[in-house]
Subunit: 437 residues, 2 copies
Amino acid sequence: MQEIKVGLAGLGHVGSAAVKILQANRSNFSRRLGSSISLSWVCDRHPGKKLKNLSLPKSVKVTTNYRDLIEDPRVDVLIELMGGVADARRAVLGALQAGKHVITANKRLLSQHWDEIFRAAERHRKLVYFEASVAGAIPILQAVQNSLAANEIQEVLGILNGTTNYILTRMIHDRMSFDAALRRAQELGFAEKDPTLDLNGSDTVHKLSILASLVTGLRVPPGRIHREGIAGIDLNDVLFAGGELGRTVRLLGILRLQRRGGKNFYEARVHPALIEQKHPLASVHDEYNAVLLKTSYAGDQMFYGKGAGAEPAASAVLGDLFMLAKAITAQKSANSNRMIWSGHGAAEIIPMAELECEFFLKFFAKDMPGILSRITGVLGRHGISISQIYQKFDKHPAGVPIVFVTHSAKEAAVQKAVAAITRLPHVASKSVCLRML
Amino acid sequence: MQEIKVGLAGLGHVGSAAVKILQANRSNFSRRLGSSISLSWVCDRHPGKKLKNLSLPKSVKVTTNYRDLIEDPRVDVLIELMGGVADARRAVLGALQAGKHVITANKRLLSQHWDEIFRAAERHRKLVYFEASVAGAIPILQAVQNSLAANEIQEVLGILNGTTNYILTRMIHDRMSFDAALRRAQELGFAEKDPTLDLNGSDTVHKLSILASLVTGLRVPPGRIHREGIAGIDLNDVLFAGGELGRTVRLLGILRLQRRGGKNFYEARVHPALIEQKHPLASVHDEYNAVLLKTSYAGDQMFYGKGAGAEPAASAVLGDLFMLAKAITAQKSANSNRMIWSGHGAAEIIPMAELECEFFLKFFAKDMPGILSRITGVLGRHGISISQIYQKFDKHPAGVPIVFVTHSAKEAAVQKAVAAITRLPHVASKSVCLRML
């Protein structure tokens, strides 16, 4: 079995989560890939305490210098999670030059050195994957590069920064001032101590630059994107927009195609925008991210999920690693169906009768004294407890409708009780049974 | 340049759209792939009139017998869009046996003959892609197979059938009866003449079977999935749920992991469910589809888009073709960055000053007679027309706030007008300028 060797640089929150999740997935990956992925090196400037929490096997080498990973000819893939730009750039370019594929989550690096990095990748015929750099765990880069490849993407609207979306949500829902919402975000770890790059829109600009460069197939450098942040947002304006205008405020990254004289021109901008309450992006709350695309054939699409946090980012990094391993393995065999059909047989399906949920039950009864107590009696004998009873409906040809909302109850018990109730005298055989989610 | 030859069987709505979109994308695909995709054969039982609308080049051969595609050794990929099960199964198995990769949108075929098809693919070391079979253009199969590969997917909630979601939306929003909503859906082409498989939940079961088999890595046959449709749904119950219970009705496909004694067991069911109005799936209206995933590391994710229609399905088929061509090409070179970095330079970005939208403007004025007319005068001279004026705010240290909502106006004109207004006597230099989406 082919072995794909990985060096990971940067054991911060994302890096440590990636190491843990990779170790947990080794057998899963090798079963589905037909090749195995092994961690050969980890690199961190101060690895001491971080290593203790990871309990790595002894086969994993540790260094404080990323050059050790690059100079090891057995390493196939560098995962760059160092952060910053200068060293990260040297590590990525060095790895490509040394014939290694690269995975990175570094949006600043990519948006600022896009041409240099992909020119190097092209020259050395190596792959660079970077799903975690935009919208965390949401597979938006995969979608625009591959699944939607046949479409012209005419518009991108993105909530790409969890910090600012969390602050705006607190202002809108809890009537907090900007300053109080920022403090809350910092307490919860949704905002850094120095939140400047989030608040002034720079982080969203970096992400929009990457997304826009993929969507257009052309370079959209961060400096060409108009940028306004949320630092000046006043709670009065937010509340006024919600009350009088029926609008909510979101910090958006916007790319929009305009055709002029047969040529493609683009709007590219980041600023707070007042959007209608029924707009799909208006329901994206808290630290969540979302991207809405307008496409030529696939219509509107929205992708929604966690845009920040160590585990979501690590999930994206490892999705990239899985796809990269598949591409490397595919050079030797096209047998990627392994992951679909493993020959391991059928899943264990739980019989419907054993499932539990809340139910909406409706019966039709002749309006006689005592019938309600007889129905509730049957429900009680089947262990079904009632949370709400309604008897407000107009009379129906089958009788007076009585609606019950139950507490969580077993499917089998409910079906038996319904059968018993509809056999009661003065109760119609017709009934309604709907499950609540 | 390597040439990848495609045979397409079935020139119905999806097949015809796929041919058109493929022809439109040929140069786009070859630029990004480093290989070219060409259509060698089309097959249809009654090709006559359909061909007239397609204006195919003469190099494309036409047949009424799918065996011609399979027996042509130059064909690399079969795209099966014939529909039905018996012939489609023979075509797919025949193509795999003849050493061809397969793309299909056929959910009934896949859900019923899963093992047989993937066993054949495994034996002949060929790929089968089928993104269009579940949720149309939404790249959900790609996401669960690749991007989220490191996650355990603990729950899948899907609105997977556009027909039933359209009918439920009409009942809920327009208070239409089930029968009237069905007729409307048929008039608009969202429901077939015989809508049985949609209404009774079978179509959703087929799609859930495919999705569940990928998510579990094990077989989840359609027969093991509990099925209830929406045919019995009564408008009274829908309205009651909306009014008294704050719930809306959706036909859901549900897969849910339960761990029992260290083993994985699954709930697998399709039925109408009452969901809370604030639930993400409650805002999925009309013929749209959506899938909500609960994952171990990436958190909650939602994918939303067009689940039906010829062009969305063709978009998914061609996304598959693009990825398949990439996998075939990758066997000769790993140079997949072509699609990212084409060396074609920078995108044309439109200067912010030229963009147009509606604006929210707020100025602070000393409460003097005449100041409103002077502000509106400046706006008018800059060609900015006003849709709403508000002067309800409490007094602010800077003066009395006056809010204007404008009609669509040029960015440059608005910036100039704001500068001029804030220089007026009795108007504060501080102002607020927000864009409306």
